[in-house]
Amino acid sequence: MIYEASPLAVVVFFLFVGVTLGLSFFLGKKAQSSEGYFAAHSQIPWFVNGIAFAGDYLSAASFLGICGMISFFGYDGFLYSIGFLAGWIVALFVVAEPLKRLGQFTFADALDSQFQSRGIKLAAGVSTLAVSVFYLIPQMVGAGVLIQPLLGFDHYVGVLIVGTTVILIVVSAGMVSTTWVQFIKGSLLVIFSALLTIMILARGFQVPKENEFFRTLGPVDLASGTLASDVGTLLRASAPQETVTRIIDPVDNSDEPQLVVVNVPGEPQSVWSAAQRGETTYLVEAQTHVVVDGKEIVNGKEKGTKKGEPELKPIGHLSRLPGGVQETGGLGPLEFLSTLQQSEIVLWGKKTSDLEHPKTTIYYQKPTLGKDVLRPGTHPKFKGIQSNKTIDKINFLSLMLALFCGTASLPHILIRYYTVKDGASARKSTIVGIASIGFFYILTLFLGLGAMTSGALDVTNSNMAAPLLAKSMADWLFAIISAIAFTTVLGTVSGLILASSGAVTHDLLKNVLGYQFSEDDQVRVAKISSVVVGAIAIVLGILFEGLNVGYLVGWAFSVAASANLPSLLMLLFWKRTTSQGIIAAILVGMISSLAWILLSGDTFSTIYGMSADDAWVPFDQPGLVTIPLGFLTLVIVSLLTQPRDKSGRANA
């Protein structure tokens, strides 16, 4: 699609970002000491901290990734919503209060509070860095995604803008301003998502008229010898008998339709997919996209730069409503879901094939019953749910386990517990967090399904669904939603960078390497490490452009849960835990989950460009193996290293 900047959107956007930055500079003046820089003097009110939890947590993954996944595949994106929220139960019931009692600034402090071991600080510091960087990738990708339709810049420009802005925020302010930014942004995100949901319900559903967006040809007989000239005639080609067609048969055991490649003299090549209506076959328009020598070719023509020039058509429409009506008018929330359940929606499939240009991506229409859209298992990553393959089911269980365990292990969530004054405040702010995050996640289902039927989506990029949905409503709404989403990214990224710089300065340099910093120096070193981590994040954000940000976050959760959760839980609940056990568990959990991801079929196919079948591990999601592995490592190593003179912690 072609994205053009609208002046209103740009003004609202910069106003919003400017106010946020101004606020952080203003509030940041109060936070010059290291206490203030990392933990906001533990003076943040619990309600503000609770909403800031929501601000931290509802990252680009939730807003862009989940909405995008629901809008392209239906229910499956909602599985992430449920898993992300369930993780908070672990955080509240198990981790919040003890963690607050144990620590000072960072996750490593809490783990090490009873051992004074440099090894623990080293391991915990490194794992904080690893998880933060992994979590930063999807945020940066999300940033690029937002900038593109809003300002018309390229992806990498968006990533650079966000990266630089965040580094400025973090360097100028620290935890106080980050918290207030998160509070403001968290509130606005929930309020405007609710508003958008109300607008979706008020708009209801419409079925577009035949040929309004995509052409249909037919009836045709694919088996007949006259297919080519028939198609030529239907297309009103000047010389129909010179039309050439080629049929691409579906891969075995797939639900792909037959595709027909049509070459009409003097016109760009087009692709159509076969669709059955009763006994007769029709051809419905598909779309193609390929990059040749740096130029994008869409539907056989070079992509333009302005509206009205060649571009991929926006997608997202219904093909049938219950009772054959053309539109429903406004609907209640339950009615909205039950109507969709009985409708038929045009989803889009994707296939790569050699056409005029090799390796062209074909996007074809896939009319899908509402009841299938609203059940789990449509997304390729979740196909295990509907198949009988055990390995796919294990992959699904593995992901759901990682989501459940990941939240309570995320460094930027854990450090937020140090910004309130005591355990009770930690508890109350978590409850506020759960309420606002839960409400938002219920909205994600409506936002995603609303986007799915908005007729405004970009077929090449699911991350863009929420902003494009807003754009289909009104330009001002689009500007506000984009600005909120942008500050969402800013806030989450600054939280993560803060957590990483805390890990570097406080855990690694000061406690492991034994540097003695003055207060001023410690803050200065933290700021320098923020710049370095920020720069790394910018580079990774540019490299990982094409992946769904929700999916990327799923990986970050796996690494966090495998590396951090075993030691955190066992320290709290198993008296025989030793420092060596903790160190081993963190390292084994972190390295095994990272290695698993790097050797998985997904990484093979999307990052290295190799076949997924060559992957070294049997399924993509590491959690089911690496989380128990972390626990097992901790138990075995702890048992082997029990203090012999019984004066250690085992006896304490």
């Binding site: 909602f78 449920i82 209060e97 003890p98 298992g377 699904f396 009770a424 289902l445």
Partner: protein
């Protein structure tokens, strides 16, 4: 007091774990069950999902209420001593 909260937290955690586990295993091993539409023409997958989100909120409120009540009684006891 801290141990009492921890025990309560564990109990509620187990309750939620059972709910979440049921949901995940139903999805994985009995996907057809999730397609049933027991209420208002909405399928079980959506109802269960909403239910899990609401259950998280309800359990956290219960936990908060009991812990806060515990906080204040223990403070009163300290005041008596």
């Amino acid at each position: 007091m801290a141990t009492r909260n921890a025990r309560l937290g564990m109990g509620l955690f187990v309750v939620y774990l059972v709910l979440y586990g049921t949901y995940v295993f139903l999805n994985a091993f009995s996907a057809q069950t999730m397609e049933a539409t027991p209420f208002a023409g909405i399928n079980l997958a959506i109802l269960f999902g909403f239910g899990l989100i609401i259950a998280a909120l309800v359990l956290s409120l219960v936990y908060g209420a009991i812990c806060t009540a515990g906080d204040s009684t223990s403070q009163e006891k300290e005041a008596d001593l």
